[in-house]
Symmetry: C2
Subunit: 229 residues, 2 copies
Amino acid sequence: MDDILQVSPIADIFTDFPDKFGLPRQSGRASALLGTIVFRPEYRAQEALRGLDEFSHIWLLFGFSQHFLKGWHPTVRPPKLGGNERTGVFASRSPFRPNPLGLSCVKLEEIRPSDANGPILIVSGVDMVSATPIYDIKPYITYADSHPEAVSGFAARHSKDRLAVRFADGIQEKIRPDKMQGLIQCLQDDPRPSYHTDDARIYHMRFSEYDIGFFISDGVVTVTCADEL
Amino acid sequence: MDDILQVSPIADIFTDFPDKFGLPRQSGRASALLGTIVFRPEYRAQEALRGLDEFSHIWLLFGFSQHFLKGWHPTVRPPKLGGNERTGVFASRSPFRPNPLGLSCVKLEEIRPSDANGPILIVSGVDMVSATPIYDIKPYITYADSHPEAVSGFAARHSKDRLAVRFADGIQEKIRPDKMQGLIQCLQDDPRPSYHTDDARIYHMRFSEYDIGFFISDGVVTVTCADEL
């Protein structure tokens, strides 16, 4: 087709998630999770960011990089529906889409001026794996983008459910204090695949420099290990 | 580069704007403006929309098709800044971007079931020219996407300014009633390029099946012609 569009990354975002497992299911769910956006060499112009400091939030259009080759299906099983019910791909934010483009709103915490890697953006509320390519950054324009009255159907269900999180003896002390809040927010949202309800199972997720082990029973997440990778 | 991503349109949207001139500057500015989304043949699966009727708003990721070949510059002149001041391209929603991808939130008015052209979506609050290619449709998830507290810097200035609109004798009757409100909303937002303040000049915009002529003086838009094209 002659209307294929080629897009190239303008930047990459680095986060605490080397893998998909444990990622927040939407942006903003784990408000303490930071990301560092590093521009590709040809976009390292401080002036391309002029005025961005007037905005509190930005949009990231990014690529679901680990999913490029997996194709798509007209229906998906969103975790919000328990993983069994199917919904249309265009009624979901699933990464398995015809065009693997993601959209996330993040909070702009800091613009670090130029250094050897060009200007760096520090953002919070991220929901992407580390080294995800970013195709566009746009300011969040409240009057056009914010619709608090919007109805979100099944995506709204359970959006306020949060699990309790506790740590086995001696585990909490192993984790850097600046990583604690983001980790707890991710665990509160139940990172398990929806169809898993095996209380005995210990799951592992890589988070920042740690291998985090946990199990979930009776609505409580218990962290059993936090070993440096 | 090996990380170029190729995206293909999944659909096209048809609106009342054959040209860029007169387009609302953001989605939702002209809430009465309707658009019709027709899927490309390979995406005409009713099940790909299953559950979409539970959402009041959707995101459209689209291509700034008329701008593909014009390239980009690190700074742009947003109309909100009067057209003279420059701001960074990543601090703007300008179509002249490294990757010409647009992002608009529109209201989902109706999902028409399959016919010869597959399911059709009727949306309102559009801000794109007719026949714009759409690369993705995502549901608007209020808890992740709506940030009424967000600060939008210069984009928020003048966002509530609206001009008065009046019609020269006999003009109003020439326009289909169902097109009137959308037209008025577009004109209220002052479609002139920001650096134009020539009271005597008559501007023409193509809107639906009409050639609309107007001039603006003392904060009032006067529509002087509405001829069928």
